[in-house]
């Protein structure tokens, strides 16, 4: 099969899965509205929480209030995607292994990694990335950042951020098949994204160094710096490179786990 057709097929499959899961979840409209209300509440909560620090200072190690709003917006976007995509699928995978559904999925003619990582959606958080975008735009406008190449570098590093999150997800999926412990892995994902609520500079060394090596810095700090036009050019190469390596490593880990997997239904 030729490469582009295979990609197109996979996109189509995922879209079909999403249409089904969205249709199923929209039967519970009150749930959706409650989720949306809660998301808006947490955004206001975060913005008010940040304001407490700025009673005493105009900027935190070079980050002003509007600039931190950009980071908060990115946090809500990434965290929303974690809740909408990563959480429901990671919850399912332990069930797939326990009930033997994974054996069935393996026989399908599509890539299993794609099926298990992107099959489900949690509709309650689906609008969070949109809400996050509001903070990103507001923060950007208020911060007097230049408009130019930075928008392009932002898009690059934003894509990098989402792919890094996906690599983490695949790695957790592989661990879930191996360990069959969903709750703890959810906590790891939650913790990793929660660290990205603030730019890594605010943690200062030695934690800043640790979060740069364990690439939490990719999730919100780098895209925010890119948008504000103060990303050191070195990250333009290093960010995507680290993400690419993470994607390859997570893919290899997934394949390795599948090779060791002996099936549950047989």
């Amino acid at each position: 099969m030729n490469g582009t057709r295979r990609w197109a097929d996979h996109v189509r499959i995922i879209l079909i899965c999403w249409r089904a899961t969205v249709a199923a979840e929209f039967q519970y409209q009150a749930n959706f509205l409650a989720g949306l209300t809660l998301s808006i509440f947490w955004m206001v909560w975060a913005a008010a929480g940040l304001a407490v620090y700025f009673q005493f200072t105009g900027d935190l190690l070079g980050w002003t209030y509007p600039e931190l709003l950009v980071v908060t917006g990115l946090f809500f976007t990434v965290n929303g995607i974690r809740q909408a995509v990563l959480q429901p699928n990671l919850q399912q995978i332990t069930e797939y292994v326990r009930l033997g559904t994974l054996d069935f999925l393996l026989t399908k003619p599509a890539d299993t990694q794609l099926l298990v990582t992107l099959r489900r959606l949690n509709v309650g958080n689906l609008l969070d990335p949109g809400l996050g975008l509001i903070f990103i735009v507001v923060g950007f406008v208020l911060s007097d950042a230049p408009v130019g190449w930075n928008l392009l570098t932002f898009l690059l590093l934003f894509a990098t951020s989402l792919l890094a999150l996906y690599a983490l997800m695949v790695l957790l999926m592989a661990m879930a098949v191996h360990l069959i412990g969903g709750t703890e892995l959810q906590q790891i994902a939650y913790g990793a994204v929660e660290l990205a609520r603030f730019p890594v500079q605010l943690y200062r060394d030695p934690f800043q160094a640790v979060l740069t090596v364990v690439p939490v810095v990719l999730l919100t700090t780098l895209p925010a710096e890119a948008l504000l036009g103060r990303l050191s050019p070195y990250w333009l190469v290093a960010g995507p490179a680290i993400t690419a390596v993470s994607l390859v490593v997570s893919r290899l880990a997934w394949l390795r786990v599948l090779r060791a997997y002996s099936g549950a239904s047989a």
């Binding site: 929480g49 005493f56 906590q187 603030f198």
Partner: protein
Amino acid sequence: MAETVASIAALTRAAATTATAYRGRLLAGLLTTFFPLLLMAVWLTVVATSGPPRGWTAPDFISYYAAASLLWHLSGQNVIWQWDEDIRGGDFSIRLLRPVHPFWQYAANDLGQRLVMLGLAAPVFVAATLVLPQLGYHLTAVRLLATVVAVLLAYAVSITMASLVALLGFWSTQTTNLWMLWWGLGSFASGWIAPLEVMPGWLRSTAEWLPFRTTMGFPVELMTGRLSAAETAFGFAVGLGWLALFTVLYLVVWKPGVRRHQAVGG
């Protein structure tokens, strides 16, 4: 009465034993200890960039948040997730058949887990106070005793408050969302977002009358030696007042609630 006490003790022991069986879950729970320390990191940045806010130095913040991270484990709010799940899933009917009131079943279950968690976290905390010069509590015997009582009061208020909100599950299926709104608003008045002393004056003077401070800020402030005898007495009075009010409300709401309860599943 004696039988109830014996049952509660047995349930607590059983929950503690179960908790030690799931080591991964225990570890994930312990990892959440670090969340208050993230907020601490930001305050240390504030101190470093623009001097101690309202006289709070770096050691003040470190002592405050170290104690807060320990107390976080006693927040008691986990019971609401259990109530919610049981009422919706039908397991609540089984709980009603048991000779001990469900409140005590959930409370004992939570207490058992908390004791295991504290058993692991407290020695680390004590060791840290001995090693780190920044952690100075200068506890007198009287203050230590008062702190222990304040911590018990914090747990009692917090678990009664959560159970009261859980009772609304007889009328609505959205109690966990409601609780998150309640907790989110309360986190500004409890000392969780920031110590109340660095909050705006109007918020601080309101928070002193609210139940949230009892659950976190009050015991921590007491332990760090920031309260005079009069302030301590006032804090205890407010806490006991809320405990009494929540208990009465719980008893009032319980009767019509349980009558409304329609058993699901079984």
